[in-house]
């Protein structure tokens, strides 16, 4: 509430003048039409549920309790399918505009959200050690790296020496339902507060109403993103944050909602971009995956390997990128998580090099200076 309105007013005025924001208009050397969008899934999205390996014989027994929620999943290949909420993304896959990536992870191997997100975003190898983000280090490599965060504050991935602007549409859709549940836990041992919070949850119909009552729909956010990237003065690098992925409980329903939001957001953004979609690449990624097995509360706990998605109008897609380790008990990482077989940093370097027509080794060196021997993935 503090200064979102003023930011909004400032940005709205700038939009009206046909420019995004004065800070976006720096050093316009040679214009590029190539656009890159990073959608971060904060909270460790369950890749095994988003790109389920239905063809892996071990999966059915491991996730027996979740199989109903995957009814109608879109089959991608002999092994993998796509969660049924992702209808637009399934369409992009069929039209060769999407690559599903499985068993991917950053260098981070512990299970703290904050540390994991920090490493995913900074590209460092130690949490909170690196002060700049890899997206910011990408900017000097681009002829015209105007960057924008659709957030009240610039996320870590975009922080650094290169100028970045931020714009918060009035009330980004927040994962309020997740917060409500966590407040419930926070007050668990406190008789007075837990009694009050129980009443809140009851009167609010448990969860969900809050996110809708205020702020923008995912479709609005997608349209805003498209508008911000439109035209010769629009942003060329953009980041959005999504939450609500930390599904320790009631995973199937919550994930279906979050994925529906993500799908709607993507669809609205692609529709809004129009012809510019053919110059756009989108990366959807999370800090780490979740346990292979279902826990005792119909959810999953913090894990390691997860899924990511590359979506782009000009992508040679329609395939799954995975060196699939399998989910049989013996194949799991630390006997509990999906074993990562692809480095997130390798995926990102490769995808960006190809998209912007840059030398993959140069991209990897600049984006991930802390990782000397990074072998860039071929997309």
């Amino acid at each position: 509430m503090i200064d979102r309105r003023s930011l909004l007013a400032r940005s709205a005025a700038a939009l009206a003048l046909g420019a995004l924001n004065p800070t976006l208009l720096h050093a316009a050397t040679a214009a590029t039409n190539k656009r890159f969008v990073f959608i971060i899934q904060r909270g460790a999205a369950d890749g095994l549920h988003i790109v389920p390996p239905m063809g892996d014989p071990a999966y059915g027994s491991l996730r027996a309790g979740f199989l109903d929620s995957l009814h109608g999943a879109h089959q991608l290949d002999a092994t993998f399918s796509l969660h049924p909420s992702l209808t637009r993304l399934a369409g992009f896959y069929d039209s060769k505009q999407m690559i599903a990536v499985q068993a991917v992870a950053s260098t981070y191997r512990d299970r703290s959200h904050f540390d994991g997100q920090n490493i995913l975003e900074t590209g460092g190898t130690q949490a909170y050690a690196e002060k700049q983000g890899w997206m910011n280090r990408l900017l000097p490599l681009l002829p015209d790296g105007r960057a924008l965060a659709l957030a009240a504050d610039i996320p870590m991935a975009l922080r650094g020496a290169a100028p970045v602007s931020s714009y918060a549409p009035s009330g980004l859709p927040q994962a309020q339902d997740d917060l409500m549940l966590r407040v419930n836990r926070l007050y668990g041992d406190d008789p007075q507060l837990s009694a009050l919070w129980t009443q809140v949850m009851q009167t609010k119909g448990l969860v969900g109403d809050l996110a809708k009552s205020r702020g923008q729909s995912p479709a609005d956010l997608g349209r805003v993103a498209a508008r911000m990237m439109a035209g010769p003065d629009g942003a060329r690098v953009l980041m959005m944050e999504t939450g609500g992925w930390d599904t320790h409980t009631g995973q199937t329903g919550r994930l279906a909602t979050q994925l529906d939001h993500l799908d709607t957001l993507m669809g609205a953004m692609v529709d809004g971009l129009g012809p510019a979609w053919h110059d756009t690449l989108v990366l959807v990624a999370t800090e780490f995956g979740r346990t292979a097995a279902i826990n005792g509360t119909n959810g999953t706990d913090h894990g390691t390997g997860s899924a990511a998605m590359l979506v782009g109008g000009d992508l040679q897609g329609g395939r799954v990128m995975a060196d699939w380790p399998g989910v049989a008990q013996g194949a799991l990482y630390e006997a509990r998580d999906l074993r990562p077989t692809l480095a997130m940093e390798a995926l990102i370097s490769g995808a960006l090099a190809q998209h912007f027509g840059l030398d993959p080794a140069l991209v990897a060196r600049r984006l991930y200076p802390a990782q000397q021997n990074l072998r860039v993935a071929t997309i």
């Binding site: 509430m1 503090i2 959200h113 996320p155 926070l186 809140v200």
Partner: protein
């Protein structure tokens, strides 16, 4: 959850810990040392209009409104033109289409038809904004918390137009300079402040046998006379306390003694100009022509003073009364120690008050040295004001730029959302000071929503685990620390920290 002595000093006595505030070697000493460092002038006071400017603005606004109404009626009559006059006097505003449908009519001049504007609302926002920022930035949080306590003790409510621009000034001009002085001086400063005189209608009160009162009754004007509002609330709320033994006759006598206490420019309309001309508008003035002549008897004591001195003598006696000592001791103990304060503590505070003739630092020292105030179990549920200020202080320099850039109206508006609008409790009794009034489901939900909005703007570099440690120190329970650490994003972790039991209570 248990609080360390440092946490008690910072949170129960103070306005909330900032990152790195603790540990404090000698918490009691730290509190008393604030007396010498306290700044009576509010931060950025130079931004504020003076009470004279506010009252002059009100007078100009009223005049402009009269002119506006006249101009509007004239324009309306002109637009109605040849229509029967009966149609004009309906008072219906001219419709935009009316003129277009009657092209033969000359267009009325739009000259005086701009709605007059007053600055009082902007001034209110500016004043409340200074109060918030001062509370967040202060290095003498215990004394500042006392300012807030007294401001609520002497509550006004800025519901009336005349008060909107004056409410904050009363706290700045009458409370702040006396918070480390004698209660009696604060009492007199408050009761003579235009905000209080207008809020409780004292500015309108006329002695029936005064010059103005006699003239009015001779002219058959029945609407001029005594108003007991301020007299009653002084006795009931500001000093002696309800049911402390005074009668209706005492209230009426005190109201008679108070006649003449009014405000220049905006008080009793019939006040002859020459009487107040030397004073700028918005000043306290004793107007002898309004004063009920004669001696008064209150609580069995005779007051034969003349003029202003009469009510002053009564106020001085009220300030010295054991009933007042008890009333104030109870409220202070309730504010700092417990909704239902221990009688032993109340008695000690009352004794300190009586023995020092209401010397406030002496009373504060008694509070600081009271063992009841240092119980490690949090005993108070923070009201929205104290919780919000504690929240902003907890965020500290990590978001000082965001806080500094936030418009006053947004900061001030948040308190309306939380149900505790600044200087607008709606009653002279002020806001309640017990958990039952604030610990309610919807109120708690609003706090979670506000915390989440504020956390959404926190810098991406913020690590709530580290911040919680620096702000809550040893008071941070393992359960809260674990819930914060397991949040799905740093901002969600921050939201949880801001609404944690450790932040909601002190």
């Amino acid at each position: 959850m248990t609080m360390t002595a440092t946490a008690i000093a910072l949170n129960r006595f103070g306005l909330g810990a900032r990152p790195g505030d603790g540990p404090i070697d000698d918490p009691r000493r730290w509190l008393e040392d604030q007396f010498a460092r306290y700044q009576p002038t509010i931060m950025q006071a130079d931004l504020l209009a003076t009470r004279t400017q506010v009252v002059q603005d009100l007078l100009d606004y009223r005049a402009a409104q009269r002119a506006f109404r006249i101009a509007k009626a004239a324009a309306s009559a002109q637009a109605a033109g040849g229509q029967p006059s009966g149609m004009v006097s309906t008072g219906a505003p001219p419709q935009p289409g009316t003129m277009a449908m009657a092209p033969a009519m000359p267009t009325p001049p739009p000259l005086a038809l701009t709605e007059p504007k007053s600055m009082v609302r902007d001034q209110h926002i500016l004043q409340a904004g200074r109060r918030i920022r001062n509370a967040v930035a202060t290095d003498t949080p215990f004394v500042e918390k006392m300012v807030h306590f007294w401001s609520n003790h002497f509550a006004i409510s800025v519901d009336k137009m005349e008060l909107v621009g004056l409410g904050g000034l009363m706290e700045f001009e009458a409370i702040r300079p006396h918070v480390l002085g004698r209660f009696e001086d604060m009492l007199v400063a408050v009761e003579q402040h235009p905000a209080m005189l207008l809020f409780l209608d004292q500015a309108q009160s006329v002695g029936p046998d005064s010059v103005v009162g006699t003239r009015a009754s001779r002219n058959g004007r029945g609407n001029v006379g005594l108003n007991e509002n301020l007299a009653r609330e002084i006795m009931e709320l500001h000093t002696l306390g309800v049911r402390s033994g005074y009668t209706q006759a005492d209230v009426t006598e005190f109201a008679r003694a108070l006649t003449g206490w009014t405000v220049t420019g905006i008080g009793r309309g019939g006040l002859p100009r020459p009487l107040t001309d030397p004073l700028p508008v918005g000043s306290f003035v004793f107007a002898p022509m309004l004063h009920q002549p004669g001696e008064r008897t209150i609580l069995g004591k005779r007051y034969d003073q003349q003029g202003e001195a009469q009510a002053r003598a009564i106020l001085a006696d009220f300030a010295r009364s054991p009933a007042t000592a008890n009333h104030i001791a109870t409220k202070l103990a309730r504010h700092f120690v417990a909704d239902d304060p221990p009688p032993s503590l109340v008695n000690r505070l009352a004794k300190a008050y009586r023995n020092s003739n209401g010397d406030l630092p002496t009373v504060y020292r008694a509070l600081i040295s009271a063992k009841e105030a240092w119980t490690p179990t949090p005993a108070k549920f923070r009201d929205p004001w104290n919780w919000s200020i504690a929240m902003y202080r907890a965020l500290g320099s990590d978001r000082s730029d965001k806080f500094a850039a936030a418009p006053d109206r947004n900061l001030v508006g948040a308190f309306v959302e939380l149900g505790q609008p600044i200087w607008r409790p709606g009653s002279p009794a002020g806001f309640d000071d017990i958990a039952g009034s604030w610990a309610a489901p919807d109120a708690l939900l609003r706090r979670v929503e506000l915390a989440s909005r504020i956390a959404a703007q926190a810098p991406a570099t913020l690590d709530p685990r580290a911040l919680a440690g620096r702000v809550l120190g040893d008071s941070l329970s393992p359960a809260t620390a674990a819930t914060i650490a397991s949040a799905e994003s740093p901002r969600e972790g921050l939201s949880l920290m801001l609404v944690s039991p450790e932040m909601l209570r002190c």
